[in-house]
C-alpha cells in the first residue's frame, strides 16, 4: 500500500525498543577471563540470536519511533574457549540509517506457490 498521503498529518508511530537494556554498573563488572555462564548471570542472555559466530555475543540496544532512523548502541563480548577474551562496543556512537526498501523484497509477499502440489483426497 502507498506511503502516507502527503497532505495528511503524519500518523502517530508506536515507539520501538529493541534489544537488551544494560546499565553501566552491571556492564562494568564484566571483565576479561570470565566464564560464559558468569556473563549470562550478570547481564542476562543477548536478545539478538546470531546464527553464525558462536563465540561472540552482541548486546544491541535501540529505541525510536517505528520506521525512522534506528539509533543503535552495541556491546560485543568475544569469547575464546568459553572465556571472555575481548569486550568492544561502538562507544555509544549512535549509528544506523533509515531502513531502505529493496525492489527484490516486493516478491516476498507474492511468492506463494500457485499450483497445489498435493492431490485431492480420493
Amino acid at each position: 500500500c502507498a506511503g502516507d498521503p502527503f497532505w495528511l498529518p503524519s500518523a502517530h508511530k508506536i515507539s520501538i525498543q529493541q534489544g537488551n537494556l544494560l546499565n553501566e554498573q552491571q556492564l562494568a563488572r564484566v571483565i576479561v577471563g570470565m566464564e560464559r555462564e558468569e556473563v549470562r548471570e550478570l547481564i542476562g542472555t543477548p536478545v539478538v540470536n546470531t546464527p553464525f559466530k558462536g563465540n561472540r555475543w552482541d548486546y544491541v540496544f535501540t529505541r525510536g519511533p517505528a520506521g525512522s532512523a534506528v539509533k543503535a548502541r552495541r556491546v560485543s563480548i568475544i569469547f575464546e574457549d568459553n572465556l571472555v577474551a575481548q569486550i568492544d562496543s561502538n562507544q555509544d556512537t549512535e549509528t544506523g540509517e533509515l531502513p531502505e526498501k529493496r525492489y527484490w523484497w516486493e516478491l516476498i509477499d507474492k511468492e506463494s506457490t500457485d499450483d497445489t502440489p498435493y492431490q485431492e483426497l480420493d
Partner: protein, 236 residues
C-alpha cells in the same frame, strides 16, 4: 451442508449394519453413515467390523469438512487399535484434516495463503504426516504425505519471512534478525533462505553492524550468487 436428519437403522448383525453404513457412505449421505457406524460400535463394541467402522467415521467427518470430529475419530481409532494394519490411514486422515482446516467453500475462488493463516494447523499437519512417514515408510499414503510436508515446510518458512518483513517496515531490526536466524535454523535448504539472508543483512546494516552484514552477504553469495542484494557486498 447436508441438513437431513440421520435415519435410524434397525437391529441386524454387525455385518449387515456395516454394509448399510458403507452404502450410505458411498452415496455421500455422511450423516446416516456416521450414525449407523456409531450404532454398530455401541452394539458390538469389540468386533472387527467396529474397528473398520471407526475409521470410516473419521473419513466421513473429513468429507463433511468437520475437521475436529475427524481428528477425534481418528485419535480414538489409534488408541483402540494400536496394532491394526491400516493405522497409517488414521494418521493420514488426521494430517489432511489439519491441512485443510480453515479452508472453505470459497477455497476454489480465493485460495488460502497458507503462510498467513493460523500456523498451529500447519505444524499439527506436519507432525501427523511426519509420524506416518517415519512409522510406515511403505504405506500407500507416504508418498503424498512427503509432498504435503515439503509444501507445508515451504509455507512455514515463508511465514517467517513475511513476519520479518512486517517488523523490518517498522524498524524492529532485532526482531528481524531473530526471525531470520529461526528460519535458517529450522528451514535450512528452503528456497526462501536467500531472501532471508538478504533481509538479515539489511537489518544488520540498519543497526550499523557492517561486519555482521558483510558476513551475511558472503554466505548469501555462496548460496545464490546473482541475488540483487549482493550489490551491497564490498569485494575483497
Amino acid at each position: 451442508c447436508a441438513t437431513q436428519t440421520p435415519t435410524e437403522v434397525g437391529s441386524g448383525t454387525a455385518e449387515e449394519l456395516y454394509r448399510t453404513a458403507k452404502r450410505s457412505l458411498n452415496q455421500g449421505d455422511f450423516l446416516t453413515a456416521i450414525s449407523t457406524f456409531e450404532t454398530l460400535g455401541a452394539r458390538y463394541p469389540f468386533g472387527s467390523y467396529t474397528q473398520q467402522a471407526q475409521l470410516d467415521i473419521a473419513y466421513a467427518y473429513l468429507k463433511q469438512d468437520e475437521f475436529d470430529n475427524a481428528i477425534n475419530a481418528a485419535d480414538r481409532f489409534i488408541k483402540l487399535y494400536p496394532r491394526s494394519e491400516n493405522i497409517d490411514y488414521a494418521f493420514y486422515i488426521k494430517g489432511v484434516s489439519h491441512f485443510s482446516r480453515g479452508g472453505s467453500v470459497m477455497e476454489r475462488i480465493f485460495p488460502r495463503d497458507m503462510a498467513k493463516v493460523n500456523q498451529q494447523w500447519l505444524r499439527n499437519a506436519f507432525t501427523e504426516f511426519d509420524t506416518l512417514v517415519r512409522r510406515f515408510p511403505d504405506s500407500k499414503y507416504a508418498q503424498d504425505s512427503l509432498v504435503r510436508m515439503a509444501y507445508l515446510r515451504d509455507e512455514m518458512a515463508r511465514h517467517e519471512l513475511i513476519t520479518a518483513k512486517f517488523y523490518y517496515q517498522r524498524g524492529a531490526m532485532v526482531a528481524v534478525i531473530n526471525r531470520m536466524s529461526y528460519l535458517l535454523e529450522h528451514f535450512d535448504g528452503s528456497r526462501h533462505v536467500p531472501n532471508a539472508l538478504a533481509l538479515m543483512a539489511s537489518a544488520y546494516e540498519s543497526l550499523g553492524q557492517t561486519d555482521r552484514q558483510q558476513d551475511t552477504l558472503r554466505v548469501l553469495a555462496a548460496t545464490s550468487p546473482e541475488h540483487p542484494a549482493l550489490e551491497k557486498l564490498t569485494k575483497g
